[in-house]
Symmetry: C2
């Protein structure tokens, strides 16, 4: 995709290419289209849509005014597949009353951290948005390294603030792009490491779940050992792509020692 | 309107009350509704709609999920009336190829300036948005003290970037609210002056046009003397509400001396 960032943003061109917007269960083609428009406006090109049925996505793709963003967008059957090649996955949430299990940052701090990590790490960044009605489920959020929320006004008697999807994405992308990062594409930190991608983290998660089972950890500490908790546990550590195979080798070795065949 | 700003924004409550979103020629009730939603999300309550016919506004007002913002919104027949009580009027524009005659700031700098001026000046701030299709006309922009644009990505072969109205307003309001101002409501600059409001500036404009005519300035310098240019000229100076009557007194005196009856 050939994009010329505007003059004032030339230096973060590569950051914009690293970022992938992942729309989960967006059922309304108009919503998907308005997300694509906001991405196009702010110079982001990578859109992925996760749906258990293909209809809204195809409708949005075939719209007359569908942009390049829409035409090159990918369709995925699950969050795991959509973020498999991402080294950082950030979930968005309106918070509300849900009991969140992950670190939560407000948008300005979250954008700063995403930019800083992108400058250090060459990997892809997945930014997840749920449906307007329900947001992201805890299971979907468990694929995220941490969470982001847009601070909103509070009103007496109103407990669940939520934004229009296209507006929320416009605000997030604006904030992500509003400051140039410390380092431009030429001035990137030398020898950037690459974090383990989500597919590797998910293989580690599977192995760790097996280890918890094989060691009866999941019986003694059932409260810590359900799959979503272990998935979050793995995302909280920072494993780079070189170390991930080492950790997985260790986990496989543990399973072998316990007389289990690792499943993968 | 009773609003509790979110905790992190308590200190700029009064700034949010000073700001008025003015929608000019928004013909689509859905658009007006989405603007009201973004305002509600970010704690802004004052919406004014300028239309030469009342239909879309009434439709938006009567929508089932219309918020308090929508219900208290005012309807105006002209930009001049909608901003009459504002001491600062800022127009938004996608720039494009239009030949702009006023100072233009990018959103981050514009937001900073609006916040700084609101902290110094107790008057109302009008933020004008045009229709998605045509934006604001030069005549409408001439009521503005200066202009604001949201920097967007540039693409080869595409000359007119423009944003979805609801998304543009969400991004502007987010940026306006994202930082606390230097001074909170209790810590406001003592003895804040109040700038002359737009109604006063417009009376000055009318008098100055008459003076230009009476003195034949408009014949010798026709290029500087059309009404929109004089309107912009008056907005570029900073007249406070105490000085405005003095200036108008002077202009009336000039007209009287020239044998003209000032019209008002």
């Amino acid at each position: 995709v050939s994009i010329l960032a505007s003059d004032e943003h030339t230096e973060i061109h590569s950051f914009r290419e690293q970022l992938i917007v992942v729309l989960v269960r967006a059922r309304n083609p108009g919503n998907i289209g308005s997300v694509a428009r906001a991405m196009h406006d702010f110079g982001f090109a990578n859109l992925r849509v996760v749906n258990d049925f293909p209809v809204p996505f195809e409708a949005a793709k075939s719209a007359v005014d569908a942009s390049e963003v829409m035409r090159t967008a990918g369709s995925y059957a699950s969050v795991a597949e959509a973020v498999a090649d991402c080294t950082l996955v950030v979930g968005t949430t309106a918070v509300g009353e849900r009991d969140l299990r992950q670190e939560l940052l407000q948008l300005p701090q979250a954008a700063q951290r995403i930019r800083a990590e992108s400058a250090m790490d060459a990997g892809r960044v997945g930014l997840l948005f749920g449906s307007e009605k329900t947001g992201l489920s805890n299971a979907e959020l468990s694929y995220c390294h941490w969470l982001l929320t847009i601070p909103m006004a509070k009103y007496p008697g109103m407990r669940h603030p939520s934004m229009n999807l296209g507006q929320a994405i416009a605000v997030c992308l604006w904030e992500l792009g509003r400051e140039a990062p410390q380092t431009g594409p030429e001035g990137l930190t030398p020898n950037r490491t690459t974090s383990a991608d989500s597919a590797a983290l998910e293989r580690m998660t599977t192995l760790l779940i097996q280890v918890a089972d094989a060691t009866e950890y999941n019986r003694r500490h059932a409260a810590n050992a359900d799959p979503e908790q272990i998935r979050r546990l793995v995302r909280r550590i920072g494993v780079d792509s070189g170390d991930a195979p080492v950790w997985m080798g260790l986990l496989r070795q543990i399973l072998w020692k316990l007389g289990r065949q690792p499943r993968e």
